[in-house]
């Protein structure tokens, strides 16, 4: 049973800004579908009293005290910027907005 459609793969590719050819979309649809099917097997054994796992390490509350540490220099911070101006990262104007 196919859970994943080619439309969904194309949509995801678009969201992830990955250019895919129609052939790639087709093959990925098949592969992703198999992955979903495999993972769905877990649901068959999971019962409501099993809490969802988000992390393989059974730890919680790993915190850092609120103490200022090292920062990068402006030169270091901008070292990998493809373009810069006024000590800031220069990016092309994007038709979008802050979230």
């Amino acid at each position: 049973m196919s859970e994943i459609s080619e439309e969904q793969v194309a949509h995801l590719a678009n969201l992830a800004r990955i250019a895919l050819t129609p052939e790639e979309i087709s093959s990925l649809t098949t592969e992703l579908d198999q992955i979903v099917d495999s993972i769905a097997k877990v649901q068959e054994v999971a019962t409501p009293d099993v809490p969802a796992t988000s992390h393989p390490v059974p730890l919680s509350n790993v915190f850092r005290p609120d103490v200022v540490g090292e920062t990068l220099t402006i030169e270091q911070a901008l070292q990998n910027a493809p373009e810069q101006a006024d000590n800031r990262f220069k990016v092309s104007a994007i038709l979008g907005e802050e979230q």
């Binding site: 800004r17 790993v62 609120d66 911070a77 800031r88 990262f89 220069k90 979008g96 802050e98």
Partner: protein, 504 residues
């Protein structure tokens, strides 16, 4: 920007019921960022408060700031929320350069606080409970400056410059449940709600809460639904818009009013509302269309694999609960009694959103009456003229210093207003302005007496009248002396001296 058609507000309310919802972002005033030890500091040179985590550099790992978690729990408790025994972070994926990682660390299905309620006091004193859906922790994004184009806005910009100092600053986002029944008071309720949140975070001491700096930001969701005849089922909810960029209490109120009028005009004309974000423009008092938005915004949330769950102990929650300041309504009652304000005076303060300012001004040494007089009077007047927030114009410390100069007799009320203008114009503290502008009251009797003698000599008829006991005639001399002193004299003292000299 094309002008939107607007329906008359009362007419809009006749036809439609406004339905509201708010998302308020509170920047926490921790020393460091949410997930890195870089400083959380406003106003630093661009890209100087950044660490590899803030830039999402490969190999960098976020670590949760313990203080931010404590603050978030305190805020959740103050909002009457339950605190989740276990909550976790999630990645919200989107491509926009305000975060270098291409995702924001937020919380999704397991927020730290949920199911709360906060009492909001309306301008008429009515208490409206607002139901809180959740309060969750997340990180702020960097700041973009759009360069080029005619407006400096995003449309038409040639490129943008990014400063990541704000990226990673701890935020708590407070989300309300849908608010029905606000009716014509919707704009006032919106303002009162945000003012209440501001009061809460300020009394908790967890945020600087300056709206003009973006420490406290409100996204206002609003939709209209047509009214139905009595006995008929209510109409389904209308399509909502989300207005952003609302940076003052006053704007919250204006933006809601504007959206009600705009949406009503479209709906009455047979049109449909586009589900989208709207940008509030303080200068024009209008909103403009932003990005289309859908309920299922495709952020592909998933649990943040780099972070472990946050599981506050009951002891910690109870410790923080016992340290909570009194709730805003109780605090208001206490302050009103302490300050000795009448109902009307106090409502003025609350409606002006000036509780915090007056509290801090009194703490800085001013009398409650003087603090109230300055904030609700001259400062609010100037704020109105400038279209600014009173709190952004002058600090409580400077207002207290100004009141002290008046109390000490260094300034008359009239001179103090000039000094205030100087302070607002950025000329320094009140004392700086007094010194620079030479505005102090002439308290040297010698200088006053010289001016009085001159005035009396040039008005012998007045002098004769005063000597005849017609004391009210002295007004003309007092006026002349005040003029000669350029207003920098205490009129009562001048009067005393005039009467004294006339008899000599």
């Amino acid at each position: 920007m094309a002008k939107d058609a607007l329906m008359d507000y009362d007419k809009a309310l006749e036809l439609f019921e406004p339905v509201l919802g708010f998302e308020v972002h509170v920047e926490l005033n921790t020393k460091t960022k949410m997930f890195s030890a870089a400083p959380n500091e406003f106003g630093s040179a661009p890209n100087t408060n950044v660490s590899p985590v803030c830039l999402g550099l490969p190999g960098s790992l976020p670590v949760v700031n313990e203080q931010a978690v404590r603050y978030a729990i305190s805020l959740g408790l103050a909002l009457g929320c339950s605190i989740a025994p276990s909550s976790r972070f999630a990645r919200k994926n989107y491509f926009y350069p305000d975060l270098a990682k291409n995702y924001q660390i937020s919380q999704y299905d397991e927020p730290i606080a949920f199911d709360g309620s906060v009492d909001v006091e309306m301008p008429d004193g009515r208490i409206v409970p607002i139901s809180i859906e959740r309060a969750h922790m997340e990180e702020d994004a960097g700041k973009l400056t759009h360069v080029g184009g005619s407006t400096g806005r995003i449309q038409g910009a040639e490129y943008s410059l990014v400063d990541y100092n704000r990226a990673g600053v701890p935020l708590v986002e407070i989300v309300t449940n849908i608010i029905y029944g606000a009716e014509a008071d919707a704009p006032e309720l919106a303002k009162a709600y945000v003012a209440t949140i501001r009061d809460i975070v300020t009394s908790l001491g967890i945020s600087d809460a300056k709206m003009e700096r973006g420490n406290l930001r409100c996204d206002a969701n609003i939709s209209l639904r047509p009214r139905t005849a009595e006995g008929e089922p209510p109409a389904p909810l209308g399509t909502r818009t989300e207005t952003k960029n609302v940076n003052s209490l006053r704007s919250v109120e204006r933006a809601i009013r504007y959206e009600i009028q705009r949406q009503a005009a479209i709906l009455a004309d047979g049109g449909t509302i586009t589900q989208e974000t709207r940008h509030w423009h303080e200068d024009t008092g209008r909103t403009s269309a932003g990005r289309p938005k859908s309920d299922a915004d495709d952020y592909r949330y998933f649990p943040e694999p780099d972070l472990l769950p946050v599981e506050p102990s009951l002891e910690l929650i109870e410790e923080l609960r016992s340290a909570l300041p009194e709730p805003p309504a109780a605090r208001r009652r206490r302050l009103k009694a302490e300050w000795g304000f009448t109902d009307l005076e106090f409502q003025d303060v609350v409606n002006g959103g000036l509780l915090v300012e007056i509290t801090e001004t009194v703490a800085a040494g001013a009398s409650p009456a003087a603090a109230r007089k300055w904030w609700t009077g001259e400062i609010s007047r100037i704020a109105n003229v400038q279209g600014a927030e009173a709190s952004a114009l002058v600090s409580p410390q400077n207002v207290a210093a100004l009141a002290a100069l008046v109390d000490a007799g260094t300034l008359t009320d009239k001179l103090a207003r000039q000094v205030l203008e100087g302070v607002i114009a950025g000329e320094g503290t009140p004392q700086d302005v007094v010194d620079a502008r030479g505005l102090a009251v002439v308290s040297d009797d010698g200088a006053l007496i010289a001016a009085i003698d001159d005035a009396l000599a040039s008005q012998p008829d007045v002098l004769a009248k005063i000597r005849d006991g017609k004391v009210q005639a002295a007004g003309a001399v007092i006026g002349a002396v005040m003029k000669a002193m350029k207003g920098q004299a205490d009129a009562a003292r001048v009067r005393e001296l005039v009467l004294e000299r006339a008899q000599s």
